[in-house]
Symmetry: C2
Subunit: 269 residues, 2 copies
């Protein structure tokens, strides 16, 4: 997928919503556990109920991997279902990978080619030769962790490096990498005013913003400080949407929560 | 496995060698490609040929994941083979994971419980609540990336945070985490003199040292600067051992390279 296709979709749907698929067998409705593949059955129902309200889906690979070979098969089924039925959606493998050159290339091929994801989340700690292999693929994108929304983000990400927080150094350095136009950045919404500084460093990049709602960030502030001319935002919600109900109405409840966010977004665009 | 069992094994074998299983179908001997599961067939042959010379095995999960469901099955077979036949070896899932709390717990369970690895490598960037879930399991260890041996390590790891390189800040901060006695650290051997500073911060922890040999580090310098009273070192070699020959003699050739390293280690202990 190209960035202009993603932007067009955002305008068409008046939505920059990404639905996070963190499928947890302990949280999905009990009646689904009788299905042959409960993980996929749940993901499929959520996708079918929300696809017209969002522009992206983000399966967190940890939740699939936790179930071993079966989980991996469910991940394959989920991305294949998305690509066959909703090919216009931007797909994100939330895998937070990162390793030295050849190994990063392996991961990139696994997610971009074998599984046909549009993008994968990656960690910056190992630097350039761990990131650039993910930028070698046309119309594929790597989404680099910059400022995350968890408590531990203050351990290192906000520590001062040459007078600036480390996450800004990550943005500045990564935006010089080869093919950095294929980079997006994870930027937590817990302190939306940070987004102004971030936009000064990466004015054109898409930002994937977790932490709106449950983790406390405000959607209007994210738009105020983070939106650029091409919108340039994907706001993710996972648990708030997919676990809105644990009853048989879970898919409709998820749709209602997604609709609420989409309507807020439409008002802010 | 406990740390004292690991140390005992190091003394018994006069070896602190870890063999990295980076199984690449493009590099293994061609005759193995006819096997039903060439990845496992290769890993098994390497393990059988080297087990008495090393104390640890480290499958890099990227190489397995790159082959999708089949690769994941090969990883399961490899760790099961190790645990059934060589239960005294310390096993490392080189996965470089890291995510927020609940998700890290998922990864920890997947590697420690479902796959029964003794340890898993993890990335520090997301901080405390991404690391501590990996330290909740008795006799299981998380191996945190501190200073890696790749070129990109200078992008962030050696940048100055309050006058000290970031990797030292990582060591200092992580060694304060809950259950930090279950932490080990990845420390590249490319600049062995860094090991003195590292030992001053984490005197008792095991260090997993890649980059000896192919990547230029010297084994004697690693021992000089990095050894502690309990040895406290695992030195990894991957390609130098497992791809010593691409012919039918690959397992014997791997053994010869492992023996060379083990004999050097015996001389240094």
């Amino acid at each position: 997928m190209t960035l202009s296709q993603l932007t067009q979709q955002i305008h068409d749907k008046k939505s920059f919503l990404c639905v996070g698929l963190d499928v947890d067998l302990e949280k999905i409705p009990a009646h689904l556990l009788q299905e042959e593949d409960p993980i996929f059955a749940f993901a499929k129902a959520i996708i079918d109920a929300t696809h017209d309200l969002c522009v992206a889906y983000k399966p967190n690979t940890a939740f699939f991997e936790a179930y071993g070979v079966k989980g991996w098969q469910a991940l394959e089924k989920t991305i294949n279902y998305l690509n066959e039925n909703y090919p216009d959606h931007f797909t994100i493998a939330d895998a937070k990978r990162g390793d030295i050159g050849n190994t990063s290339t392996r991961y990139a091929k696994a997610f971009y080619e074998d599984l046909s994801f549009d993008s994968v989340t990656i960690a910056p700690y190992m630097g350039k030769d761990s990131v650039e292999p993910f930028l070698d693929f046309e119309d594929k994108f790597a989404i680099l962790l910059a400022l995350t929304s968890n408590g531990g983000s203050t351990d290192f990400q906000t520590k001062s490096v040459d007078g600036k927080p480390l996450y800004q150094e990550v943005l500045k350095t990564a935006s010089q990498y080869k093919n950095s136009d294929r980079l997006m950045y994870v930027v937590g919404a817990t302190k939306a005013e940070y987004l102004s500084d971030i936009r000064a460093i990466v004015p054109d990049a898409f930002l994937l913003v977790p932490g709106v709602g449950a983790q406390g960030g405000s959607l209007s502030e994210v738009v105020k400080y983070g939106k650029n001319d091409q919108v340039g935002l994907l706001v993710n919600s996972s648990r708030g949407i997919i676990y809105a109900s644990q009853g048989k109405d879970f898919a409709q409840a998820a749709r209602a929560k997604a609709l609420e966010l989409q309507q807020q977004m439409a008002g802010l665009l």
